[in-house]
Amino acid sequence: MSATLLLVQGLNGLQLGILLFLVAAGLTLVFGVMDFINLAHGVQYMLGAYLAAAFAAWTGSFWLALLCALPAALAFGLLLEWLVFRHLYDRDHLSQVLATFGVILVLNQGVKLIWGAAPLQVPIPELLSGGVEIMSGLRYPVYRIAILVTGLATAGLLWLVVERTKIGMLVRAGATNAPMVAALGVDIRRLFMGVFGFGAMLAGFAGVMAAPILSVEPGMGDNLLILAFVVIVIGGIGSVRGAFIAALMVGLIETLGKSLMPDLMRLFMDASSARQTGAALASMLIYIAMAAILAVRPAGLFPVRS
């Protein structure tokens, strides 16, 4: 494998990592601050993509769609919080898992009723539709570079908000010891609601950004949710910084593993079984990495609660 190809694969890995981060950031905040397991986070990502598709079809512009989809995703997140989730904060994790799993089923079926089961598409905005030739014969779409940049900007912004503002301080405090924060006179319910709405909007944003390169279809968030959980567990639940590092790690391991494993296996076995074993091993790699990291650091890379 040539050095260029390796570099390209590194770039691909980073980009997957950034997309994962956008989904995982909201999840880790909600899980960390509110101690609330929200399996429905993936469908909020899906909803963002569907809203983008609907608004893009309606307005004919990706930018208007983005502008409309974000508040809509936020509003829907708040509605869900008010309807379902706030009644679950005091329950144990099992009830939360059951109820939010129910929300997944309802929403997956719901988008199918409204938009049909066939996948939808969102066109890439004209402005970002070009490509840069990064190795001979392969164009790297400008849109993917835009995802990278947006993701990094979001990460920076989140870091600023969480580390440098009063709200961020409350969020961090809430993640460490919520009852104590409430005892100090902070309306913890409102803080929770804000965090939840923001998390839902982040997931929706990831959905909007992913819509032009991935197919928009019912259940599209389910696969990503599993990866997002791996990310927040590796990163340390509740830690935005941890989620960022872990997301990039998972993205890189996944992508490089996929492209290197089959070649690596060929050193030990014949070509056809190397391909299949390599592919199978590559898809296990991130879980192996997770297990290894948890064995050394049981609370993740950047634990919030000591």
Binding site: L5, R139, R144, A279
Partner: protein, 398 residues
Amino acid sequence: MTEGHIGRRALIAGTTALATTGLSMPAVHAQPAAGIKIGVVAVLTGPQAALGTHLRDGWLLGMRHLDGKLGGIATETVVIDDELRPDVAVTKVRAAIERDKVDIIVGVVFSNVLAAIMRPVTETNTFLISSNAGPSTFAGRGCNPFFFTTSYNNDQVHSVMGQAATDSGHRRVFVMTPNYQAGRDAVAGFKSRFQGEVVDEVYVPLTQLDFSAELAKIASARPDAIFTFMPGGLGVNLVRQYRQAGLAHIPFLSTFTVDESTLPAQGAAAEGFFAGSTWAPNMDNEQNRRFVRDFETQFNYIPASYAAQSYDTAMLLHSAVQKVGGRLADKEALRAAIKAADFRSTRGNFAFGVNHYPVQDFWLCKVERRADGKFQTATVRKVLENNVDRWAAECRMR
């Protein structure tokens, strides 16, 4: 959608009650049928529901063209949603046969569902006519006198692309499929007729979202063409990312990856990409023109092969019921009547082989933009004529 509304618990309760009172099995069709009941099995929930919808709507259009009568006998359609879960399919199909007294079961999109309901249906001497799933399991030694399929044997479609690649003079082909049984079968099928070199085989997880790592590999391998089998959403992602990565100048040969069920989401990204198929909406025969025109009017989308095969199934049964004069209880006669395949298929050529799988032509198709801006597959050239699947010789039915 009658079945959809009945809870599974109620179904189980119903079937056990029937079983305990001993009323379940005995021959139901003693007297000439006053009406016919057909169970249509299709996946209508979950990510693959679009395919089941095509299949169901194709059947419904067939029944509409027949005025709701098979062979002149009023026919009721019972739609069964298999949810793509074999256990659910078995429960629902059993209930349809034992409680609803369904005469014939048709439909089935996925092979794993077909495999699950195969014995429960055929052991009650009920005919099972698959209008899509065509696994090799039931084509050779496992062929069954009560089973027919109006689609194809999966291997054939993949091998068509192997033949097409050879015919087009592609010498170096890059192969990529999902890492599960059907994916590996696709590679084997392709290789069975491809005479050039397979530069690399890549297997991706079924849950794959982003293909950029594989696309970089393809670019660096510089093949003459790629062959891929990426059903459903996988194909939508691959096709769009392939185009975005600027690889579209490398011919894209595929099976079950670009068709009318995925083209609405792939759109212009799939234009000029190739598919192997037994049918395409542009096939020029009277039966097909009427089918496509009325289907679009009625359901407001372009039918895929799932719909065409399902429509053919309705026409096939119509011809068979007519032949036996409505006496469905005479299984031998009904079997002979179905096997005669005395109907006009949307595909033109159609006959059954010894194993009850079709003997038919296979085509290389290409995605094109229609005058109205929508996308569909269109035939490019016939690749195999009157092709018999390679399992037929092992079938002991004569």
